[in-house]
């Protein structure tokens, strides 16, 4: 059992975004930027992968940030400070390849900003110039702005509705940086919805700017045993859990990945309905 030491509900406008600080000293100690955990909310829960957003080795804690979209995240969100998550396994996946590249642009979209955070931090620590682009639908849903400021040399914000920063998408900002500002970029790291990662890759590809994406596919065990998370990268089948979660974005077959992500939509909907009717076991 893993105790929740702190719970943060993001804001009144974004009540579905929540962040936990969880006591997991061994995981905190072993964690490297880019790695994830798999958790099980309770006895009947499924194994869900979540990327680690922050760690505190001294306190022996890890932070996870999630948005309630389906039953498992809704059940997770019902837990409070002092509550316990049944199982947490990690750190899993390969760490991000960190070295001095030069100028690194870290792009985070939606709650994807949280997993970008430790990567930006590690990139900055390694001597890179870190420029971060944070994208959100609207200002109220923007997360981690202050945290990202601390680990970036420069920060840029975009919102779909123009309520904050550039009116547009992260791709617009990135394109502007490349084409108008002519900033020489050595590496782009992007985490967010698959469609956003796909379009960021489309922006960087003609300029041959190396682009890492971190994929969050459906997983069961998360240790290389089941292959549920498989994706095609450079024409070859790879397992996100042991070969990733980071890949060269220009090689990823995003269409196939997005198609595979939709496999359990009807089941997810059913589970959510049961949960919303409060007929589920947590109610």
């Amino acid at each position: 059992m893993f105790e929740i030491l702190e719970k943060k509900v993001w804001s009144d406008e974004a009540p579905k975004i929540k962040e936990f600080m969880v006591k997991a000293p061994e995981i905190a100690k072993a964690h490297h930027a880019g790695q994830f955990i798999i958790l099980i909310v309770d006895e009947h829960g499924e194994r869900i992968p979540l990327t680690i957003a922050d760690t505190d080795v001294q306190r022996g804690t890890i932070n996870i940030l999630f948005q309630e979209v389906g039953k498992s995240t809704m059940c997770l969100g019902l837990l409070n400070k002092g509550g316990r998550i049944h199982h947490v396994s990690g750190p899993l996946g390969k760490p991000t390849h960190i070295e001095k590249f030069g100028t690194v642009v870290c792009v985070g979209g939606g709650i994807g900003i949280a997993p970008v955070h430790p990567i930006a931090k590690a990139m900055k620590d390694a001597g890179n110039k870190v420029i971060s682009i944070l994208g959100s639908r609207t200002r109220n849903l923007l997360i981690y702005e202050d945290k990202m400021k601390k680990v970036s040399h420069e920060i840029r914000i975009t919102t779909d509705d123009g309520s904050y920063g550039r009116h547009g998408f992260v791709t617009d900002e990135l394109k502007h940086m490349i084409e108008v500002e002519k900033i020489p970029i050595d590496l782009v790291v992007v985490i967010g919805p698959p469609i956003m990662m796909k379009f960021v890759c489309k922006v960087t590809e003609p300029y041959k700017i190396k682009t890492f994406v971190s994929l969050n596919t459906i997983m069961v065990d998360g240790t290389g045993m089941c292959g549920a998370c498989r994706v095609t990268v450079g024409g070859k089948t790879k397992f996100v859990c042991v070969d990733g979660p980071e890949f060269d974005g220009h090689q990823v077959d995003f269409e196939e990945m997005m198609m595979r992500q939709r496999q359990y939509l009807p089941e997810e909907k059913l589970a959510k309905e049961i949960c919303e009717k409060q007929t589920c076991r947590q109610a």
Binding site: H44, E46, R47, G224, M225, V242, Y264, E267
Partner: protein, 489 residues
């Protein structure tokens, strides 16, 4: 027609005892059981067991013991059943095998102890496996199992990586030698393939849980959710955490796919995924349990091993109208246990033998709609000694299908090897050991056994490796002696 033969004079003078037939195993009706996840076989009742035990000849030179990978004293425990000393019988088994309830159910006895049983030379062998299961279940039903007396603590610490059949055996053997034993298990439940792979209808998970509890009562420290190679490395266990020896029993790893077009379509699964969802995560009880599984109408399982049989029988139980085994050789070459193949057939599984898949066909939404196959014929024997399947030209045909489950084996999991550079692997990525008896790897103090050494095999072979490794670890802890992996270097 009559089978009666003229009686010979010798038998007239010395009347022979009436021959007792091998006692059949009571099972659930095939049509009924194909729709539920309860145990297929129901186990002997007390009277069946005693009658069956009476068939044992108590051979002076018992071949059955040599046929058993963990050398259970089979005549001894059967004699105790004859004497109705059931609890003593199970203790006799536990001298060499800590998991009789498991082995009695899933061991391929027909290829081991029962294959060499003398009674079997002129008729059917003694049902050793069924008797083993009977006494193990009898013990479980008759109160708490007593704990053996443990020797004083040696002060030595052993880490076991993986709580599968190999790791559990090592842990059980070494805790009884007075060592401190910690098992690190990657998943959230102990048992390895016994919980994620073998279905409930063949091995109820409560039985595995019981055996694991027993080890914990003996003092084994079980740490779940510990993926060694990630949360701790082998080096950290030995250098920082003070373990004197490590046993790696991390099991079969990454599932093989076939490399045919359409394999990443929705509705194509590895057997590992399909079975793990169902067995470990209890997806057959969705939405009571959160992990979903699809209830497909037409399901093809590729492969002819036990895992393929488990998968196809699971598909039937989840409601498939047509559940097929697609296998490129013939039934004779199938590596699955005959009993499993027979059970599958009785339950309504359709066998497409001498058939090789060439392409998975999908629709615009990315879902499987069919499986294109090619007819095969058998040619000359190959390296495995089985006749090689050869495609028949122009024999392509398509089966309408909603799901395809691939059960053609696994390759080695890389997680431990990636973080243990001085651990020598073979060409296929499995851990190299000195030999089967010592289980010593190229790294001092580190032993390995089971599927991570041999590639996909059976529960009992992993247990046999665990038994050997435990002996070798005991010797190493006493003497500190190691081998020279690189000969004279």
């Amino acid at each position: 027609m009559s089978d009666e033969k003229p009686t010979k004079g010798r038998q007239e003078t010395k009347p022979k005892k009436p021959k007792i037939p091998r006692q059949p195993m009571p099972e659930q009706d095939p049509h009924q059981r194909a729709k539920n996840f309860s145990s297929v076989t129901l186990g002997y009742k007390l009277e069946h067991a005693v009658t069956e035990a009476s068939r044992c000849l108590q051979c002076k030179k018992p071949f059955c013991i040599t046929g058993c990978p963990v050398s259970i004293n089979i005549p001894k425990f059967i004699k105790l059943i004859q004497e109705k000393e059931f609890l003593k019988a199970v203790q006799a088994i536990k001298e060499t095998n800590l998991l009789p309830a498991v082995c009695g159910r899933v061991c391929p006895q027909e290829d081991q102890c029962e294959k060499v049983c003398v009674v079997g030379k002129k008729g059917e062998p003694v049902a050793i496996g069924r008797l083993e299961r009977f006494v193990a279940d009898y013990e479980a039903e008759h109160g708490e199992v007593p704990l053996p007396e443990l020797p004083p603590k040696t002060g030595k610490k052993v880490a076991v990586v993986g709580a599968g059949p190999g790791g559990l055996t090592v842990a059980g053997d070494l805790i009884r030698r007075g060592h401190d034993v910690t098992i690190f298990e990657a998943l959230h439940k102990a048992g390895g393939v016994l919980v994620y792979g073998i279905p409930e209808f063949r091995l109820p998970k409560a039985i595995v849980g019981r055996e694991v509890k027993y080890l914990q009562r003996l003092g084994v420290d079980l740490r779940l959710n510990h993926v060694i190679g990630k949360i701790r490395t082998i080096d950290q266990l030995m250098k920082e955490d003070g373990y004197d020896a490590v046993f790696i029993g991390s099991g079969a790893g990454l599932p093989w796919f076939m490399g045919i077009p359409g394999e990443n379509l929705n509705g194509v699964y590895s057997a590992n995924e399909y079975l793990t969802r169902n067995n470990l995560m209890k997806a057959f009880e969705f939405p009571v349990y959160d992990t979903p599984i699809k209830k497909f109408k037409n399901v093809a399982v590729i492969g002819g091993g036990n895992v393929a049989m488990d998968s196809v029988r699971t598909a039937l139980r989840l409601g498939a109208d047509n559940a097929y085994i697609v296998y490129r050789r013939s039934r004779t070459e199938m590596p699955a246990r005959k009993e499993e193949v027979d059970h599958a057939e009785h339950e309504g599984v359709q066998f497409k033998n001498l058939t090789a898949p060439v392409r998975v066909i999908g629709n615009e939404q990315g879902w499987v709609t069919g499986l294109e196959c090619l007819k095969m014929e058998l040619g000359e024997p190959d390296a495995s000694g089985r006749r090689r399947p050869v495609p028949i030209k122009g024999s392509e045909f398509t089966l309408p299908m909603d799901a395809v489950i691939i059960a053609i084996g696994t390759s080695a999991n890389p997680l431990i090897a990636q973080t243990t550079p001085d651990l020598k692997l073979n060409k296929k990525g499995y851990i190299e050991v000195e030999n089967e008896t010592t289980c010593r790897t190229s790294k001092k103090g580190v032993f390995a056994g089971g599927d991570i050494v041999t590639g996909s095999a059976t529960v009992i072979l992993a247990m046999g490796a665990g038994r050997n490794a435990a002996k070798a670890i005991q010797q190493y802890l006493q003497t500190g002696e190691w081998w020279k992996p690189n000969g004279n270097q």
